[in-house]
C-alpha cells in the first residue's frame, strides 16, 4: 500500500524550495519523490541518484566482447583451417578488426542493458505519476507521510508554491 501526497510546481526553483521545506520538516530524503519531464542536473533536488557503475560495466562489457571476438575468429579458423592467399590461418590484423568491433558492441549492449535494468524499465504497472508533469510541472511529494504530519506537510507544499496538492494511492 503506497500513499503519496504531492504538489505540482511550475519551475525548478519552487520545486527546490518545496524539497528544502520538506527536509526542514524532518522528512527523510529517501521518502521524497520527484518526477519531472526533463532532467534538472543543476538543481540539488534532482541530484539524488547514487553514482552509477555504468561506465565500468560498459568497459567490462567491452572486454568481454573483445575476448569473444578474438575467440570467435581464432577458434573457428583453427577448427576448420582453410588457407587463403598465403596468409596465416589465424592472422592477427584481420582478427584484430573483428575483436575491435565486438568490443564496441559489447560496450554498447552492456550500457543498454544496464540502463534498462537499473532504471527499472520496462515497467507498465501503475506508478506514481501525474500527467501534468508533461506540461512542465515538477512533482514533489512525500511517500507514506506519517498521519500526524499530513496537515503540516500540505501546508509546506503549498507554501513553496505548489499549484495543486494531490494524493496518490496504490493498493
Amino acid at each position: 500500500m503506497l500513499k503519496v501526497i504531492y504538489g505540482l510546481y511550475p519551475d525548478p526553483d519552487s520545486a527546490q524550495r518545496a524539497v528544502n521545506s520538506l527536509r526542514g520538516a524532518g522528512i527523510d530524503p529517501r521518502d521524497i519523490a520527484v518526477v519531472s519531464s526533463e532532467p534538472f542536473e543543476e538543481y540539488d533536488f534532482a541530484r539524488r541518484d547514487a553514482a552509477t557503475p555504468m561506465p565500468w560495466l560498459a568497459a567490462l562489457g567491452g572486454v568481454v566482447g573483445g575476448v569473444s571476438g578474438f575467440l570467435l575468429a581464432s577458434l573457428t579458423q583453427r577448427a576448420y583451417p582453410i588457407p587463403t592467399g598465403g596468409m596465416a590461418i589465424v592472422s592477427l590484423w584481420p582478427d584484430g578488426i573483428i575483436t575491435y568491433e565486438l568490443t564496441m558492441l559489447g560496450a554498447i549492449l552492456t550500457s543498454l542493458l544496464t540502463l534498462l535494468l537499473t532504471a527499472r524499465l520496462p515497467n507498465w504497472r501503475i506508478q506514481l505519476y501525474d500527467p501534468a508533469v508533461s506540461d512542465g510541472k515538477i512533482l514533489i511529494g512525500v511517500v507514506n507521510p506519517p498521519q500526524d504530519l499530513r496537515v503540516e506537510l500540505e501546508k509546506r507544499l503549498h507554501g513553496a508554491g505548489g499549484t495543486e496538492i494531490k494524493e496518490f494511492a496504490l493498493r
Partner: protein
C-alpha cells in the same frame, strides 16, 4: 610428397589457334551466353588467347598469350571471399567451391589476370548441345563464380586410379584438356614437386617469365619466350 601442380606455356610455340579454348569448354561444361550477352562482356573463357598487335602495316606482328588461372600461391582472390569459396588446396591449386559461392564477385575484382567468370544467368545448353556435357564435371548455377581448375576432375581421377593400382602418379599419366588439345604442344602441365617432370624442367628455362609477377601473386604458370614483348617482370 604432396603434389604441386603447375604449368608452362611456350609462347614461341603458340600459334593462337584457340584449340585450348575449345577443349576447355568441352571438358568443363562451360556454357555459351549468346551474342547479346557476349557483347555485354559476359562470355566465359576459362582459358583465353589474348592477341596484342605491334607495329604498323605492313610490319605488323601479333603476339598470342593464352591466359588462364595462374593458381597463385599468394592469390589475391582467396582472402577476400567471405565464404571460403576461393581457397588454396593442399596441392597448390586455387580451389573454387561452387557450393559455397554467394556471388559477391569480390574475387573477380581482386584477380589481376581477369581469369574469373561469373554466371549472370542460369547456363543454357540448347538441344542437342546438352549431349556434350561432361558427366565428371558439375554445372554451375546463376550467381556462382567459376574459373580454370587445372582440370581438377582429371587430377582427382588420375590420383584415384594410381591409388587403386597401388602405384605413384607418373609424369605424363594425365594432363589438362588444354594441354591435350594444343597442336604445337605449347602447353605443358605437371607436378612442380617432381624435379624431373617436364613442367619442372621447362619452368627452370632461362626463357621463363611470369605474367604480372611484379604484383607478388606468385603465379604458377611460367611463360617461355625468347624476346620479351612486355615490360620487364620477375
Amino acid at each position: 610428397m604432396a603434389h604441386n601442380w603447375g604449368m608452362v606455356i611456350d609462347l614461341d610455340r603458340c600459334t593462337g589457334c584457340q584449340a585450348c579454348v575449345v577443349a576447355c569448354r568441352a571438358e568443363n561444361n562451360i556454357s555459351t551466353v549468346g551474342e547479346q550477352q557476349s557483347a555485354k562482356g559476359r562470355a566465359k573463357h576459362w582459358i583465353r588467347v589474348e592477341r596484342y598487335y605491334e607495329g604498323e602495316f605492313p610490319d605488323v606482328k601479333v603476339k598470342f598469350i593464352p591466359v588462364l588461372c595462374q593458381q597463385c600461391d599468394a592469390a589475391p582472390c582467396e582472402p577476400v571471399c567471405p565464404t571460403y569459396a576461393s581457397y588454396h588446396t593442399a596441392e597448390g591449386l586455387n580451389g573454387q567451391v561452387y557450393n559455397r559461392c554467394v556471388g559477391t564477385r569480390y574475387c573477380a575484382n581482386a584477380c589481376p589476370y581477369n581469369v574469373r567468370f561469373f554466371n549472370f544467368y542460369n547456363p543454357v545448353w540448347e538441344k542437342p548441345l546438352h549431349l556434350q556435357l561432361n558427366p565428371d564435371v558439375s554445372v554451375r548455377e546463376v550467381g556462382v563464380m567459376e574459373k580454370c581448375t587445372f582440370c581438377a576432375q582429371r587430377i582427382k581421377a588420375a590420383e584415384i586410379q594410381a591409388k587403386a593400382e597401388k602405384r605413384e602418379l607418373k609424369d605424363g599419366d594425365f594432363t589438362t584438356a588444354c594441354a591435350q588439345a594444343c597442336p604445337t604442344r605449347a602447353i605443358v602441365f605437371g607436378d612442380l614437386n617432381q624435379p624431373e617432370s617436364k613442367v619442372s624442367r621447362l619452368a627452370r628455362s632461362n626463357r621463363g617469365v611470369r605474367l604480372l609477377g611484379e604484383l607478388g601473386t606468385l603465379p604458377k604458370v611460367t611463360y617461355l619466350e625468347r624476346d620479351s614483348w612486355h615490360d620487364e617482370n620477375a
